[in-house]
Every structure is written in C-alpha cells, then in structure tokens.
Amino acid sequence: MIHSSLTQLGAALRAKKISSVELTQGYLDRIAELNPKLNAFITVNPEKSLAQAREADTRFASGKVGALTGIPIAQKDIFCAKGWLTTCGSKMLHNFVSPYDAHVISQFNNAGAINLGKTNMDEFAMGSSNETSHYGPVKNPWDTARVPGGSSGGTAAAVAARLCAAATGTDTGGSIRQPAALCGISGLKPTYGVVSRYGMIAFASSLDQAGPMGRNAEDLALMMNVMAGFDERDSTSLQREKEDYTRDLNKSLTGLRIGLPREFFAEGMGADVAKAVEAAIAEYKKLGAVIVDISLPNSKLSVPVYYVLAPAEASSNLSRFDGVRYGYRAPEYSDLADMYEKSRAQGFGAEVKRRIMIGTYVLSHGYYDAYYLQAQKIRRLIAQDFTEAYKQCDVIMGPTSPSTAFKLGEKGDDPVQMYLSDIYTIAVNLAGLPGMSIPCGFGANDMPVGLQIIGNYFDEARMLNVAHQFQLATDWHSRAPKL
C-alpha cells in the first residue's frame, strides 16, 4: 500500500479495502520506524491524525467523499494548522501552537484529507539543503549522507521514503522543485497567486507560492484541485474560475513545442545531470514534441536579483518575531532593546540572520535605489524574457538543479555556492510563472536527477499533461530508495 499513488489509495478507501484509520496508522508506524533515520518530520501527532481519520471513515459511511478523503497528507511546517505546533523550522517558533488554519490546511481539511504531520524544512524556508533547520538536517533517503535539498526537504524526503503518499511544499526560489529533483519525486510550484498564502509563514511575499509534492503528476493534479482557488484573505490571490487540473492529463504531446534555453545548457550544469536531461528531451521527441532553441538572456542575473529582493522582503516579514507576543523570548534581558536583541540573536539561526542583514542593508537609506529598485527593474526584464520565449514555445525545459544531491556539510561554509544550486529555478519565481520538477534519471552516485518544466502563466494543467505523458512512457518516478 505504501507505494500506491493518491488515485490508488482513494480507490482502495472508497472500495473499503482499507479504512482511513488503518492507512493513517500504517504511515504513522512507518514514520516511527524511519523518521529517526531521516528526520523528515518535526511534529507527528498520532492522536490528532487518527481522530481526523476516524471522522473520514464516517464520511465514507455517509458517502460524501472526494478524491483525497481519508488520505494522509503531510504538511510542510510553514503552514499554520490549528492546534499543531508550527515552527517554520526555527527555534523562534519552538513553542508556537497555531490558533488558526492556513488556507491550504483548511482546504485539505474540507476535502477530508488527514494531516499526517508537519515536515522539516530549512529555517523560515531559507536554504537549499535543509541544513538550516533548528530541528536538525533532513537526510536524503537515497543516501543518508546527502542532503535532500531545500527548503521543502522534509516533504521531499518523506514522499521519497514513502512516509506519506504526498505532501505540501512552498517555493520561493526553488524550494519545491530542487528538493523534488534531489529526492527523485515530482513537485509543482503554481503560478504566483493561484494558491492562497494565508496562513503560510512569509519568507518573501512576492515570491512565495505553495504547491504539491508527490509521487507523480497525476497525484499533483489531484492535490492542485484541493489547494488552488481564490481566497479573499490574500490580496494577491487571483480571482479565477475553479479548474480541474486533471482535465488534460491524457492529451497527446504531438506537436508540443519545447523551448530549451541556451543559457541553461551552458557551463555550470553537471555532466551527469546534462545526460539525464538530454535523454528526457529525446524521450519527448519520441512522444511527438518538437524542440525550439530559445534564449533567456537576463536569467543569468536572477541569482543576484533574488538575493536582493528576497532578503529585503524577509527582513521586514521576520520583524514580527520579536519575543513580545508569541514564540521565543530570551530568558534574561536588561531592557526592551536588550530583549529584542537577545531574543532575535538566540531565536534565529545563522542563515536567517545573514538574510535579515542583507535585506536591511539593501533597503537602507542611500542604498535602496542602487539595490532594491535596480533589482526590481531587472526582475521585469527577466519576466519579459519569458514572455518573448512563449511566443515560440509551449513549455520550457531544462535541469532543475545543476547537480544531484550533495553531501551534508559540503556547502555549509560557502553561502554563494549554496545559492547557486537554485540557479535554474529562481527566474521562475521572479517572473511568477509555474514550474515543475519530475524525476528523469540518475546521475553520479546513483542520485536522482530532476527535469524542470516551466509553463506559461496558468498553464499548470498543460504542464501536468506534459509530465504525465512522460511518466506513462518512463518509470523514473516509480523508483524508490532502499531503506
């Protein structure tokens, strides 16, 4: 059962081959067994999960069920969930039990899904290796000496290790796609504004977007049907017709125009990654797609632009963590300023502090124009590159990450090296476009490689179709690590 997709689990539940309580207990047992090795979860709460499962089982009795009813879904610990410890990977929120549900959480609750637990993550989603978590690094299930990627590393590891059927992630600069690639699973970052950010702890508000992570594209589509939709509590949420993201899964890819950005296939990409990605492109040609050479000339500026804008927003977003109303407060302090300084000095980790410092600097009087404003201008140019490219192609493909999973501690001393692991993913967030990663083979040390699929705005259904057709033709997505 643990290798089943969401579709299969849903069918089994509806056919009463298994109850939600049995299924939930099965996953909880697996978590109890394997989590000490992987550290993928920060919080599990069997009592709460099983209570939800019992309720789901009564829904099966009454017949009012949806595709995800009764299915345990793990939630990244960035989403506030009522009555659940919600830490965002930080000591700052080590004691924060949320009094309310994030939009994403209530969408899953309403769908009858079970909250299986809160997954580990880089502190405040700042990191590409899951090593910045206050709750310890997550281990890659394919090789526990390696990182799972980040910041949704707990989710990626949990899905890959079959500790859950699917889980949520969030993506500010690649935090869904890069760990999906490094752990050999599928992940989708939707168009900015498609999934409400209400109740999702903010890192960089103009870039943050929640999305599904799972075994395959079909599962992601089912998750999207629950997660997407307008929410009046988020002013950047888009008012659109409700979509069925499964509607195009089975369309043929004949004539699909795949754009390959020259800049992505230049220096920087590992030879093993290149090989797997090129093989995937060849597979797409077999499926009837045509290849278009495109250029994204400004994409090379996306890392520096991102590391101005994201820290700027973060420096302000994280100001609310001041020890006054909730969360960590230093045990001893002499006065107000001292309380702020000690609480924040002790409550935040090094990477978070580094980004707060960068963000504070770029917004400072006298530097704002040179950094923040300039970065915003380049951000527009990066988005325009994509608009131009989509005049020639339907989707863009390339590597998700320049390398496969690296070793724990390998890039710990060099933040810039770490930042470069998001070189292919960041431009997508800056433009607000949807991006995906699906498994497309294995590279050096038998570590998974991810293929990135970038769509035009609101083209998620087409991207899922493109991914699903590939997964019908290949089996990379059904490989599981041996644990």
Binding site: F79, C80, T86, C88, L93, F96, S98, P99, Y100, A102, R197, Y198, G199, M200, I201, A202, A204, S205, S206, E232, R233, D234, S235, T236, A312, E313, S315, S316, L318, S319, R320, F321, D322, V324, R325, Y326, L336, Y340, T360, L363, S364, H365, Y368, Y372
Partner: protein, 483 residues
Amino acid sequence: MTWEIVIGLEVHTQLSTNTKIFSGASTAFGAEPNTQADAVSIALPGVLPVLNRGAVERAIKFGLATGSHIANRSVFARKNYFYPDLPKGYQISQFDLPVVGQGTLTIQVEPLSGNAKPYEKTVRITRAHLEEDAGKSVHGDSQGVTGIDLNRAGTPLLEIVSEPDMSSAAEAVAYAKALHTLVRWIGICDGNMQEGSFRCDVNVSVRKPGAPLGTRREIKNLNSFKFMQQAIDYEVQWQIDTIENGGKVHQATILFNPDTGETRAMRSKEDAHDYRYFPDPDLLPLEISPEWIEQVRATLPELPQAKQTRYVNDLGLSAYDASILTASREMADFFETVLAAVPKDAKLCANWIMGEVSAQLNRDGLDMTQCPITAQQLGGMLQRIADGTISNSGAKEVFRTMWAEGGSADAIIEAKGLKQVSDSGAIEALVDEIIAANADKVAEYRSGKDKLFGFFVGLAMKASKGKANPAQLNDILKKKLEG
C-alpha cells in the same frame, strides 16, 4: 529685528470605519484591552492584510473636499521599526505614492492680539495618505510591567500633511480647527480629540525675513487646540532665545508638557530611524477609477465654503454670520432646518441662533448637538414672530419656556396668552383714550417734540399689557398724533 515664524502641520485623523483598515476587527473605542485584536492585529505568523474600501472612500472624500488630486494609482509601503505596540515590526503606510495629492484649505484666522482684524488665508495641503495606527503601551501597573493593548492597532488613519504656510500660532490653530470641522463635516472622522481621533504634529522653525528656512523641531501628538497654541508660543520663544543667545537649533522631535507649558526634546535627528520604506508586497497597488471618485462625490455634502458663499449671495447674510453658521455641520443643519420654517427671514434665523440659542448653550455648557430646543421648535416660534402673532418680547418668553419645559411655540403662546393684539379697532380705541388723557403731551408733540413718540408707545403697550402688535401700534399712533 523681528523673526518670522514658519509652521507646518501633520494631522492624524482616525477614520470612522467600523472595522480596521486591513482586517475585520472592530475599531470601537474603549473596549477591554486586546478584545478587538484579531489574528491580523496581533500579527500572528502567516496572516495577511486586506484593504478596507471604506477607508479609501473616506480618503477620496477628503481629497474631493479640499480640491486635491486623487491618485488613480497609489501604493502601500512598509515603514519598518521595532516597538512593542507595533505588532508586525512595520507599519503599513504610504510613502512616495499617497492616495491624496496637493490641495488647499481656506481658513478664517482670528488674530490673538486684541485689535487685529480677522482675515482669510489659504493653506496648501501637500498630501494625505492612508496608514494603520499602532497599539498602545500601557505603562506602570502595580508590578512595574508594561502592558500592550492592540485594540487600536490597525485602526485606519488619514495623515494630512500641510505645506509650511502658517506664520503664527493663531494661523496654525485656525488651520487645525478648520481641518477638524471639515473632517467631521464630511463624516470621515468623529473628531474626538480626547480619544485621540484627531492628533496634530506641528513643525516649527524661525528665520529672519528673507533668510532661508530655519531648522525645524517637530512637536508631537498635540490633542487640544489650547495646548497647540501654548506649545507653539513656547517653542517659538525658545528657538528665538536660543539663536539670539548664540546657540543653534537642532532638528528634533519634541513633546509638549501641558503641566509645565514647556517643550522637551524626545529624540534628535542623530537617532532618527531609517524606516527602510518599500512597497508592501502583500498588497496590490490601490487603483481608484474615475467612476469610484464620482460615486463618492455624489455622497459628499455641501461644504462649508460653498454654504458660506450661498448664505451671503442668496440669503443676504453677512460674511461674519455665514462663517459662524457654518462653524460645524450641526450648526449649519440647525440653521437650515429653522430657515425652512421661515424661508424669507434668514436674518431673523441667524440672529436667534447666534444670539439667544448660542448664549443659552454657553450658559448651560452645552454644544449644538445637546441643544434642548429642536430646530423645528425654533422654526415654529420664528413663524409666529414673522406672522405677527407674537412680539419680540413675547418671543423671548416663549423661548425661555421652550428651553426649560419644552413644547411647541403655539402651545406656549396659547397657555401664556402671549398672542399680540392685532385688531386695529381695539388698538385705535386704546390710542384714542391715551390721547384724550394726555392732551398736554400731545400738544408738545405736535409742536415738534418728536421724542415724545416713545412715551406714547410705552403708555399704549402698557395699556395693552404688552400684547399690542408693535408695528400696528406705531402706525395707528403716528396717524392719530399727527391728527
């Protein structure tokens, strides 16, 4: 050599919406601490702001009332600083793109020195922007602990900034008063200064005529017109003394102590904050369509200036009367309701309202809204003066009774028998008797001693027990005396 005083004001007006500017929490004053602090007011992790359109409408109203430019696109910005009553660690305000741009407000200045004449002045408004209020720090409970009350956090404010156009305390106070009248007039603010609904910051500097602007100091948070005048007077003298004694004025934020009548520096420019303003990524730019502006314009009442012009041109009132009658919306409404009863006697209405009514209100320490006599009651009485039913002296008695006991003019006239005698036959008989009984005085009168006319009027009035219609009596008496 004299000094020139330069004053500009920043006024924070609390907008009269029922709910906060970025959440649905109530804005009612005086609730138990933190009972009106919802998740957004507390700034829980993950919550997001949603703009209250009612606050925007009030800003548009203000813009229309001051002939200001209303931006079709304005931007909310974050003003970053740490303070315990600022829950997010930033205030959502507007920076370089405010909702209301340049406009003007014409004021009537009553100079403080006895013999100078009142004059009119037009003050330029620089801008008005929307922002949220902070909470309150409640200092010094029994344990010496500072409490935080976030009920006020998120209350909508319109900050109205003037040009430094005022050159005396009298002008500054007149401007503040005119603004206070206007915001209440158009119904965007209750103007309650005790509760902090209308708070003034005053920028003061001095210079020699023709010299460049001096260094300004900002007096914060004045919540009474009296304190404003005292604070400015003290501050101006302090600056002049400082300079004349060879010192220098340094830019600073200062507080006025009403108990000592002195100002004192709170912080200097050196420790001024760098607020690191940047556009709030959680809120879209505020778009105001011409249609929206026209909808708001349709709800705007006739403004004080327009009313004054109409009162002078159409009703024949003096400019002075017109300005008094438009000192508040309540006053003008009262006047117009009274006038509706006697449309041809505007001066009569004005005289009674500015005379007897105002005097009685003053004596009883009441304001217009607490007036025990309704405008309808007064109008009813003025009708009886106009149609000759009662004399002026009779009217005064009706008024006194009405004030103390209530009732309609007609009922009081009836009960007290105050109806004038307008029967010409009865008056003629009465006059004949007096002429017959005072033959000597009649002879004197006829020989040219005109002043005796009053003597005959007095006798006749006395004989009629004050009920004779004075105009009629005059006519008959004159005719008979002239024989």
